[in-house]
């Protein structure tokens, strides 16, 4: 999994790419997120546009990111979900947990 971090209008955007699956991508996401939280970042958008695949461990990692951020007074929002990722969030009812946006810009404006 690839993770790019950029700052845009005061919001930290984590751009993920590839697979977020057990044994491949999940650890990188945690590391990057913890690093941003430790810098005091409070507004975080996770761009999932380039994520080709996500499994239950990947979903768990997104949940862990959400709860870690919340504990530190930060907010994680999701943007650019592919149809498959969107379907998985619906099936697992995680769509009721995350704020999701069609684009990174929309997610940024929502803060």
């Amino acid at each position: 999994m690839k993770v790019d971090v950029v700052e845009k209008k005061g919001v930290t955007v984590l751009g993920l790419g590839g697979k977020i699956t057990l044994g491949s991508g999940d650890v990188k996401l945690k590391e990057k997120l913890v690093a941003e939280l430790s810098k005091g970042k409070k507004k975080i958008v996770v761009d999932l546009g380039e994520v080709s695949y996500i499994d239950s461990a990947g979903l768990g990692e997104l949940v862990a990111a959400y709860t870690s951020a919340k504990k530190q007074g930060a907010t994680v929002k999701l943007a650019n979900l592919t149809k498959k990722v969107n379907d998985l969030l619906d099936i697992t009812r995680l769509s009721t947990v995350f704020e999701t946006y069609n684009s990174v810009d929309e997610a940024i404006k929502s803060f």
């Binding site: 044994g23 499994d55 949940v63 998985l88 009812r93």
Partner: protein, 140 residues
């Protein structure tokens, strides 16, 4: 549809690296069927979850213990069986990850996801281990 292929299987020692390999094995084995690409993707996700569970929960990540993936093609269904060398578990202990109180749990969605994308799930036993059987009904 079978073109001479009725049952194939692969065995490997417990290593999460093999999950990707299992998925490719599954996709290749279905390459001459008429199942839609989207359905293959979802069933492949179920298989990944089953293999991960076999390695982590069944074999407790013990690299000396084996996982077996078996795919059986029938005219009206495909059966996928994933075996490990563990002791099995009581499925009634599984919690529903979609309940409000479980939504923020980072774990516990694997079996739930498996059940969403295949038509039937059975937990099965044999002499040297425990398995899960996923049935894909080709009539649906």
């Amino acid at each position: 549809m079978k073109e001479g292929l009725s049952k194939i299987s692969m065995q490997f020692f417990s290593n999460l690296f093999m999950t990707d390999f299992s998925e490719e094995f599954f996709r290749l084995s279905l390459s001459k069927t008429k199942i839609s690409e989207e359905r293959v993707d979802w069933v492949a996700l179920s298989l990944r979850e089953a293999v991960n569970n076999a390695i982590i929960h069944g074999n407790k990540n013990n690299p000396k213990k084996k996982v077996e993936v078996e795919i059986e093609f029938l005219d009206e269904a495909i059966y996928i069986r994933v075996w490990d060398e563990g002791k099995g578990f009581d499925p009634s202990t599984l919690t529903d990850p979609t309940k409000d109180e479980n939504l923020l749990q980072p774990h516990g969605r694997g079996i739930f996801l498996i059940k969403q994308f295949v038509n039937k799930v059975e937990f099965i036993c044999r002499n040297n281990g425990f398995g899960i059987e996923l049935m894909v009904d080709l009539r649906k």
